[in-house]
């Protein structure tokens, strides 16, 4: 269960933080060379700050503040690289672990918390500019993939991609896991994407496990080859290398937006924590495996790299402080979240009035009022 040493793997940063591009990474190097120091620092900052948020959310769940938490621990590089590669006009479709993607695009972390606290099934409006076209979490595995393809089909129908203006052309990126890749929806969506040559990137985070089931149960061959089989040019990238993840995503998104049709990326990464806070990974995986992946931690790798380039202690201290501040802010605002009014049960079931729902809304109001009148 180590990243394949396959020569087709795109990796720029080795696990020890040294610059050691694989053969497949060659074509991406100019993109990485073009990155400003501040952009490199942003990648690092994103990873550290959102890991602090993720840890805080896990603690909040342990303290009974959340019903559930799916940690993103260990998957920060895959998420930061791809989300930072997207342009503001792009649409992003997460599944339910893409906290890093969401927050980079502007979604308030507390909006994610609200979902896991049982206050909402959605939590944010993808079309509100402050949320960066980030769609809401989907808990049915793979169900978001056809939606992303449909949105991408609409972009083509409207002529909003492939015009030659990369600054304005739109693309779509959809996230899913190695387990989800077995779903019919994912395959059907890829078939449509290839048929209609959608401006779209399928971003598979292969974190090695679908709850207790190893990726070998989902596939005997590398998962990126599935895209190839359907006619979608696909690459495999070291998902714990934020630079590689950024570069392959940037190229794939730009090719898709330029009218080149869909692309697929398999990012090899690792879920370092439990599947969710109700899971116990000691039942199905070894501590040796966990250790070997801890040595490939995406944050540590980037930290060593930045150090080598002369990043200052003050920079690292500043990033740590920002993480702590976010965690504290999230804690304060989470515990201050109000319970929601009962009336929300009936709101937005339909857009037009519906007599059955209206009748039940009125019934509940009367029923609850009857308790208030009755002092017993």
């Amino acid at each position: 269960m180590t990243p394949s040493e396959d020569t087709s793997l795109v990796r720029v940063l080795a696990a020890d933080g040294s610059l050691a591009p694989t053969a497949a990474a060659e074509r991406y190097l100019p993109l990485i060379d073009a990155l400003a120091e501040s952009e490199l620092e942003t990648f690092y900052r994103d990873m550290v700050v959102i890991r602090a948020f993720d840890r805080e959310a896990t603690n909040l769940q342990r303290q009974g503040q959340l019903a559930l938490w799916p940690p993103s621990l260990g998957q920060e590089a895959a998420q930061v690289g791809s989300a930072r590669a997207a342009r503001p006009q792009d649409h992003l479709f997460p599944s339910y672990r893409e906290h890093v993607v969401c927050t980079i695009r502007g979604v308030d972390p507390v909006d994610i918390i609200r979902v896991m606290r049982g206050l909402t099934h959605g939590g944010w409006n993808p079309f509100d500019p402050k949320n960066g076209n980030t769609h809401v979490y989907t808990l049915v595995l793979g169900a978001q993939t056809p939606h992303s393809t449909g949105l991408a089909m609409g972009i083509t129908l409207d002529g909003r991609s492939g015009t030659g203006d990369l600054e304005r052309d739109e693309a779509v990126i959809v996230y899913y896991g190695d387990g989800a890749s077995s779903q019919g929806d994912v395959h059907e969506s890829m078939v449509f994407a290839a048929s209609y040559q959608t401006p779209q990137v399928f971003f598979l985070q292969n974190n090695q496990w679908a709850i207790s089931v190893p990726v070998s149960t989902q596939s005997r061959s590398p998962l990126y080859l599935r895209g190839e089989g359907i006619g979608i040019p696909s690459v495999q990238v070291d998902g714990n290398d934020v630079l590689a993840s950024y570069a392959v995503s940037k190229v794939a998104l730009d090719e898709a937006r330029a009218g080149g049709g869909p692309r697929a990326i398999e990012a090899l990464t690792y879920r370092m924590g439990a599947h969710t806070t109700s899971d116990d990974p000691t039942k199905y995986r070894t501590s040796d495996e966990e250790r070997s992946w801890a040595e490939r931690d995406p944050i540590e790798r980037m930290r060593v790299f930045l150090r080598g380039r002369g990043a200052s202690d003050a920079f690292f201290a500043d990033v740590e402080a920002e993480g702590r501040a976010l965690a504290e802010d999230v804690r304060t605002r989470t515990t201050a979240l109000e319970t929601i009014p009962a009336d929300l049960i009936f709101s937005n079931v339909y857009s037009d009035p519906h007599p059955l729902v209206d009748e039940q809304r009125a019934w509940l109001a009367g029923y609850e009022a009857s308790f208030e009148e009755d002092p017993s």
């Binding site: 979902v115 049982g118 909402t120 808990l139 779903q183 989902q218 009962a342 079931v349």
Partner: protein
């Protein structure tokens, strides 16, 4: 023994009794399922009898159909109620109709276990009440045990059935304890059962709501109303004998369910009771149910799902006629 252990014991017995029985589903092996119902079974019976499948519900059910064609008796686990729908086509269009399509030349002994219903405070798609979709489909048998003893026996009976059985496990009951009598089966799979005697009002319920109905009956008794409670057990077919007997004695009936009321099990039972016991009724049959809205975020489920008070309110309304 807790309900989930009783299921585990029933599955173990079925696996031991026949090597044609297979368990298949997501995370049911090493992990023992997210509710630990299959815990230890893979270790005991091996990976060829207890299969951790790839993550694909349509294929889990579709391949179970093929396995059944090959003489196996597959028992599929769907991880949560909300995830049965990717396999819905295979259940409703294929599994349910293959015996009919083959003019009886083929039997479909497939069991599909689905944890269902609310009261565990989960996130969306993890608490739903899909029973009416299945009871509406001819060719499927649908059952739901409400006690550990029923869980132990009904899972074995479902596996023995030559027909496909949708086996609905009320997930809020998984941790409830009760006696299991492994020496003798109390009732056949499709029998309904009076679980509390009473004379004024009949409350009919299934799954987790049976416990709530019993709670309501206890509260009603304190106020001088005697409620009889009937546990449906089998949702399709329905055993109307005990229900009609009861209604003929009490003259009043309330159906209590977590599911939305519109075109639900409660609607069906109410209509049938009205047809067959019209002259015994002193009041219209009432339904108490979840609202006709999607299952809400967890913080509102306590208002969405009927509690004992909501059942009592309906009991009072029938008595007011």
């Amino acid at each position: 023994m807790p309900f989930s252990r009783a299921l585990n014991a029933g599955l173990r017995k079925a696996l031991a009794d026949s090597d044609r029985v297979l368990l298949m589903g997501e995370d049911i092996g090493k992990l023992g399922g997210v509710f630990r119902v299959t815990e230890g079974l893979q270790a005991e019976f091996g990976e060829r009898r207890v299969l951790d499948t790839p993550l694909a519900e349509s294929a889990i059910i579709g391949t179970a159909i093929g396995l059944a064609m090959g003489g196996f008796r597959p028992v599929c686990e769907i991880q949560f109620d909300g995830f049965v729908f990717p396999g819905f086509d295979q259940i409703t269009s294929q599994l349910a109709k293959l015996t009919y399509r083959h003019e009886g030349a083929l039997q479909m002994p497939v069991v599909i276990r689905i944890p269902y219903g609310g009261h565990i405070g989960a996130v969306e798609h993890h608490q739903e009440s899909p029973e009416a979709y299945f009871t509406h489909t001819p060719g499927l048998r649908v059952v739901s045990p409400s006690t550990p003893n029923d869980a132990y026996w009904m899972i074995q009976d479902a596996i023995s059935s030559p027909d496909p059985v949708i086996f609905l496990e009320p997930k809020s009951r998984y941790w409830q304890k009760g006696e299991v009598d492994a020496s003798a089966r109390a009732l056949p799979l499709h029998a309904s059962r009076v679980v509390r005697r009473g004379t004024d009002v009949t409350i009919v319920a299934h799954g987790a709501m049976v416990a709530t109905a019993l709670q309501a009956a206890a509260l009603a008794e304190a106020e001088g109303t005697s409620c009889e409670v009937v546990d449906l057990r089998s949702l399709s077919p329905i055993d109307y004998g005990p229900i009609l007997d009861s209604v003929r004695r009490t003259g009043r009936m309330v159906y209590a369910q977590e599911a939305s009321g519109f075109t639900s099990l409660g609607s069906e039972v109410a209509a049938t009771v009205m047809e067959r016991a019209f002259y015994s009724l002193e009041a219209p049959v009432l339904r108490v149910s979840g609202f006709d809205t999607p299952f809400p975020p967890a913080k509102l489920e306590g208002i969405f799902l009927p509690d004992a008070d909501r059942i009592l309110e309906a009991v009072d309304r029938t008595l007011a006629y």
